[in-house]
Symmetry: C2
Subunit: 592 residues, 2 copies
């Protein structure tokens, strides 16, 4: 018996590091302790094969059955071993391939560079079950538990009903999808451990965006955008709540409308990416309070009258099957927590994704959607409000308006003549929100529209291309939207006893993407005339938040904690509202 | 500022106890520390009103809103206060009424007197919600959480959809049913906190028994017995598995048959007791492995062929709605854990309920059902086996047989002439299992049947009453059943290297109730001829176990731990089986 364990040296050539380890310590632990982000997807159970390292010099233990399987599958040389199964017995020289490292991920591709460590709630494992023996005929679930090395939970009886057939067909070789390391939500034939996907969904009042994400690598595989089918029952939140209020069936109609839009968009996106519906195991949804109530089919009458309360702020994850989403019926759907009746989960998602909550100083977060939500951070205090901007920023309720899709005029410049840019350089089909802002700014500068919003031409129309024009009503729509935001900004600053110049920065989020022209936005008074360096466009931060929720339960916790700290006020209840709003209707710059 | 807290004296006149307490300590804590089983159903949150004590002398704090509510509701005098809300400020003299104490409960009314502390998984609370205010319009769920003093979980969207209507109708006065102190499984209008019921169900191969239990008081309110509707597809487990094996639809038929029997029995029982289906919040089910697979609709093919494995042994609680039980759709259904493919949850329930697991010495547990399960405890080791007795013990497959229901001949004696006793003293309708055993024993003694089972009368029939007889086939049925049990007992003892006289006791369980005549059972060799004091009839221990599961999650844990410790052997695979079985066919006493 040795009194002191032997000490060995481990050279990690790939990382130019040298570490020491004691007899019997596990190689994976030592590598991680050295600060190298070795992948331990299966929590070092030898199940996922993601921590393969090359043993360049030193003891090479015999291949375990599982290692042999992964070596063959990944086409690795004979000197590769799983670091999580490797007990140290002597000096080593190892090389860690790039594929065995966790890839750091940015939450937002633009904006704040916070990295996210990948830890999805659902993970998949390939299991070769030991067949039951007559001496001790374990049940199928016990065989699964034995292979996984822990107890599991099954709440969907359907999985148990299918299990015997699957086991027989696959000769006891199964892949299971495990939620929170405990609950089996899918059982599949053979090895499908590499195919696990999730959806991040932004349910906007006007626009829906879905992003499909590989929840093993964290990679985004593509997005799709579509209109929210509820628009036919009202352009904004208030008119939809009123519609739901009329009779009970209307709530169902609103619920069905958004579900149909979502299911069509999802089916399309998955088909394009070659992903099966059953391969979607998780969904994270960001939407405002009304939108997530409608999505779940929960009554919203109480949002229509004072004291304007909702049914829930935060919910546990729900089964996709109980919601009508056409994906794996056992997929879990996470709803981003609402802040308040009128500041919803889209904002909490955006605040977390943008790192807003952790910023030092005084900051403003503005989400330019059909609802214009504004959050102010003054040192450690958060104040939020919500303004009814209407769908103009998303190109809706505009004569020739459209969503920011192929063919939309998204940018306009005047260089001797008016130059219009369309998405994908397609022939112009209409004007989206950012294009409208550019155009109005240019037309005011040229005197074709007055700051009060009157079109000077007697036809009260400005033609831009064949069949595409802006008319007087369109200008009014934008004017109201701009005034709502500007009035909201001024009220929230007033309440917080801050001036514009006290702000250290403004984050602008919105589903319209990154096309918003800052100079034009200032010219028409949508944004205050501050130092442009203080203004950051962060794109669709709600969607980015939903993606972060999908990949990291820690980020969910962060949002759930944040929402409790945010105070809310209703702008319409503020005595200054009327005065500020009328004052904000003029399309001109402001800096105080 | 006082450096040392003041010490006070509390006289508990009702219990002739005197205790001391420090300033600000909570009265309920001190009472419980003194060993008095004060009810703390709501974990001392002031929600349930069950820990009312009379403050005979001493400081009487003003009534809280909740206390006022409970005083009025329970018609208590003005000096009653909730002990869990009472902070001690001076010397006291108190009286604790009987209603404020937890009633100790016996798990089995016969047999082992182990007490069970009542702690049902589902508890109900009446809540008067504070209405939302415009300044801080909390969501409805947050209002509930505020009143409960903790976070809740809701997985049934239906509850959220109904919530706004209920809140409005009840003017914010709701009763919620909370599972595991966390998940809301029912929301009801007004104060229904005193109505919470559960079902303990024994799913036997031949007989179904349901007991309805008040899960607040622990009181049993009544039982119902019916045939298992699956019997038309086969009298025993093996024939039903074979039936299911023929084609997939047959599994559905078996599943529907038992569900229909159960739902009819439950509806009847609840109607008689004046309980609504929606007031059943929990169910505990004890059944053998095949029965619980059939009940859940899970394939059993693997139980039909070697190595005879099942799909599950232990399951989490399932929603009643997903199983087809016509009770509250959110009620949770607990399935007693299976020990092995052929020793199921009925036995684990019985073992726990009878205290068998905790006995000192060598004990045998025998369940006389359609399957005859036998468990031997030799010091700390458990060995189990299962024998195919057939339904004779339950009066089935017998020409004039019937379940132990009103009109069944359950007892026979020869006092100069044959005296037959029927259940409820009703006119005889048939013979149940215990009656059959008595009758055969008497007929052998009288030489009308030989120990080899031949009826001497040339008609090969013995008439007992008008239309009621025993024929040759009936004797054979019982003979096979007796031989199965006897052979099982001998094999299990042989394997454990024990002799009959080494046994410290035998527990006999069975759905036939407590009518089994021990002397007659020994005469025909169903039970070994041991000192009668060593034999204890414990009645339907499976049902008693199910009731215990209903009232105490701790007992569930005990069963789940026990099942892992029990080894199993198949009697048919034992080389001695053939010899022992043939030897056991003779209806005569045995003592070695």
């Amino acid at each position: 018996m040795k009194l002191f364990p032997q000490i060995y040296k481990i050279e990690i050539t790939s990382h130019h590091k040298s570490i020491i380890a004691r007899e019997k310590e596990i190689l994976a632990d030592k590598i991680q302790e050295a600060g190298i982000p070795l992948n331990s997807y299966c929590n070092k159970k030898g199940l996922c094969g993601k921590c393969m390292v090359e043993i360049v010099k030193g003891e090479l233990p015999p291949l375990s059955e599982k290692e042999a399987y992964f070596l063959k599958k990944k086409k690795l040389g004979p000197r590769y071993r799983l670091a999580c199964l490797y007990g140290i017995k002597g000096n080593l020289e190892i090389r860690i391939p790039e594929e065995s490292l966790i890839q750091e991920m940015l939450i937002l591709t633009t904006g704040i560079r916070e990295t996210l460590s990948l830890n999805p709630a659902v993970k998949k494992y390939f299991l070769k079950l030991k067949k039951p023996e007559i001496k001790l005929p374990l049940s199928l679930i016990e065989l699964v538990e034995k292979e996984l090395g822990k107890k599991v939970l099954i709440t969907d009886l359907g999985l148990l009903k299918d299990l015997p057939r699957l086991v027989e067909k696959s000769n006891f070789q199964l892949t299971i999808a495990l939620k929170d390391g405990r609950e089996i939500i899918a059982i599949e034939e053979g090895d499908t451990a590499q195919r696990a996907f999730g959806l991040a969904i932004d349910i906007g009042t006007t626009t829906l965006v879905t992003e499909v994400v590989d929840i093993i690598s964290g990679e985004s595989l593509g997005t799709a955008t579509s209109k929210n089918g509820q628009a036919k029952y009202g352009a904004d939140v208030v008119s939809r709540i009123s519609f739901a209020y009329l009779k009970p069936e209307n709530l169902e109609r609103l619920n069905e409308a958004v579900l149909q839009s979502l299911n069509e968009m999802i089916a399309n996106l998955l088909w394009k990416k070659g992903i099966k519906e059953s391969e979607i195991y998780e969904v994270a949804i960001a939407g405002n309070t009304s939108m997530n109530h409608f999505f779940l089919g929960i009554p919203v009458e109480s949002l229509a009258v004072a004291p304007f309360y909702s049914v829930f702020t935060h919910l546990p994850q729900l089964r996709a099957g109980s919601l009508g989403l056409k994906i794996n019926q056992n997929a879990r759907v996470y709803i981003s927590p609402n802040i308040q009746s009128f500041v919803g989960g889209d904002i909490s998602a955006g605040l977390v994704a943008s790192g807003f909550e952790a910023k030092e100083g005084n900051f403003l977060y503005i989400d330019l959607g059909t609802n214009g939500e504004i959050v102010l951070k003054k040192k450690h205090k958060f104040l939020a409000t919500s303004t009814a901007a209407g769908p103009a920023f998303e190109g809706m309720n505009i004569s020739c308006g459209m969503l920011a899709l192929s063919g939309a005029i998204y940018k306009a410049e005047f260089k001797k003549r008016l130059v219009l840019k369309t998405i994908n350089e397609a022939p112009p089909l209409g004007i989206c929100g950012t294009g409208l802002i550019d155009l109005i700014a240019i037309l005011i500068e040229q005197g074709k529209i007055s700051p009060k919003g009157n079109i000077s031409h007697k036809e009260k129309k400005v033609w831009l291309a064949k069949n595409i024009f802006i008319d007087q009503k369109d200008v009014r729509e934008l004017q109201l939207a701009v005034a709502a935001i500007r009035c909201g900004i001024r009220l929230i600053l007033k309440r917080s006893k801050l001036r514009l110049k006290d702000l250290d920065g403004i984050l602008i989020a919105g589903a319209f993407g990154n096309y918003l022209n800052i100079e034009n936005s200032m010219k028409i008074g949508l944004l205050p005339s501050l130092d442009a360096n203080k203004i950051t466009f962060i794109g669709n931060a709600s969607l980015a938040g939903a993606r972060a929720f999908l990949l990291s339960p820690e980020i969910r916790k962060r949002a759930e904690n944040l929402v409790r700290k945010i105070e809310f006020f209703s702008p319409a209840a503020d005595p200054l509202f009327q005065e500020y709003f009328i004052d904000s209707l003029e399309l001109k710059p402001y800096d105080s």
